[in-house]
Symmetry: C2
Subunit: 249 residues, 2 copies
Amino acid sequence: MTYCIGLLLKKGLVFMSDTRTNAGIDNISTFKKMHSWSKPGDRVITMMTAGNLATTQAIVSILDERTKAPSERNPSIFEAPSMFQVARLVGETIREEIQTNAGVGETADSAFNATIILGGQIKGAPPRLFMIYPEGNFVEASDETPFFQIGETKYGRPILVRVFDSEMSFEDATKLMLVSFDSTLKANMSVGLPLDLQVYQTDDLEILQSHRIDADDDYYNLISTGWGDALKQAFLSLPEFTFESGAKE
Amino acid sequence: MTYCIGLLLKKGLVFMSDTRTNAGIDNISTFKKMHSWSKPGDRVITMMTAGNLATTQAIVSILDERTKAPSERNPSIFEAPSMFQVARLVGETIREEIQTNAGVGETADSAFNATIILGGQIKGAPPRLFMIYPEGNFVEASDETPFFQIGETKYGRPILVRVFDSEMSFEDATKLMLVSFDSTLKANMSVGLPLDLQVYQTDDLEILQSHRIDADDDYYNLISTGWGDALKQAFLSLPEFTFESGAKE
C-alpha cells in the first residue's frame, strides 16, 4: 500500500508521500514515490505514485528519459505547453505501460495498477493539481475539492476534511499532512516512514522546500505523541452524553 | 456497506450499528442490523451483522426460530451453556447459510458474505465479545483488543484507538462511538442514520439501554457540528511546524 496527499493551496502546492512498498507482508522495502522535474524559471512538475511498483517505476523512467533528449524522444513533459497536456502525457504513459504488461498476462497476485497525483506550474498559467487513473484519464482539483489522496486514504481523511483550508500557510499544511499520515501509519503497516515532503510556491517556478522526514525526526514525534492527547482533549471538550436527554427511546 | 462497533468495557458491553443497506448506489434502504435475544435473569445475547442482507437476515431468522421452540429446533442459543458455545452456533449458522446459497451459484454482483459482532453474558460467567467471520470461525475481544468494528471500519478507527479506555463510563463510550460514526457517516454514503445503540451492564442479565438515534437527535447534531471545531482546536494546540527546525534536509 501507499499513502500520498497533494494539496492545492492559494499559496501553492504541497505534496507528501510515504516510502513503503510491500510484495506480501513479508517483503517490505523503501522506495521513493515522489518525483520531480523542473526547468527553473519555466516549469516545475511533481508526481506521486501508488500501485504496482514495477509499473510506477517504468512510468517515471519513461517520462524521465524523454526529458533528457526531447528531440529524439517526443513527446516530453518539458515540451508540453500546459499542465493539462502534461497530465494527458502522463495518462497515456500509464495506459500504455499497463496495457503492454497486462497484455502478456499477469501472473502475480497484484494487478499492474497505478494511480498518480500530478501537480505543478508552467510559466504564464496558475499551478494545477491532477489525479490520474490507471485508465489514463484524470480529474483536476478545484475550489470544491482542493486536495487528492491516493493509496490508503481512509484513516487520514477525516482530519483533512475537517481542518483543510486552502488559505492555510505551508507550515500549517505540513502539520496537517503529518497528522493525517500519523493516523494512517498507526493503522496500516503497509504505509511507512520515512515521508517525503515537497512545497512549491506559486510563481516561483522552482521548488521551495524538499525534505525527508524519518523516524527520528523531532517534530514528527512531537505530532505523533501529541495528537493522541490533543484528540482526547477534543473529545472531552464535547458536551457530555446522558441517557435521559441524549437519545430518544 | 455498514458500520458497527462493539465495545467490551469493565462495566459491560456497548453496541452501535447503522441501518443503511444498499444494493448499488441507487437502491438504498433502512434495515436493523442489531438483534438481541434475552431471558432476563439467565442471559442476554446481542448480535450486529455486516454483509449481504439476505444472508444476514436468514442467519438472524434461523437463530430466532430456534429460540422459540428449542425442543424441536436444537441447537438453540438459549440452550448453549456458554457464550463460546453461542459463538460456535452462530458461526455454524453463518457457514451453512453461505455454503447453501453460494453452492447454487452466485449470480449477484455482491458475494454472500456475513461478518458478525456477537456479545452477551450468560449467568455465572463474565460478559464476552466475539467477531465471527463468514467462514464460521471467530476471535474474542481481550484486554489488548477490547473492541471490534465491522463494515466500513477505517474512517472511524483513529479516534477509537486514541480515546477508548475500557474503564470509561457508558456515557463516554456512547459519545466516543457517536464521534466515530460521525466521521464515517461524513465520508461514506453507504453508512447512514438512524443508529441503534444498546448498553448492557455486567451481571444485569437484562438490557440496560436501547435507543435509536436519528437525524433530528439533538445530541447527535451537537457532536456532529462540535467535532469539526474540536478537531480544529486540537490541531491548533499542537506545536507549530517550521521549515528551519521541523524537518531535516
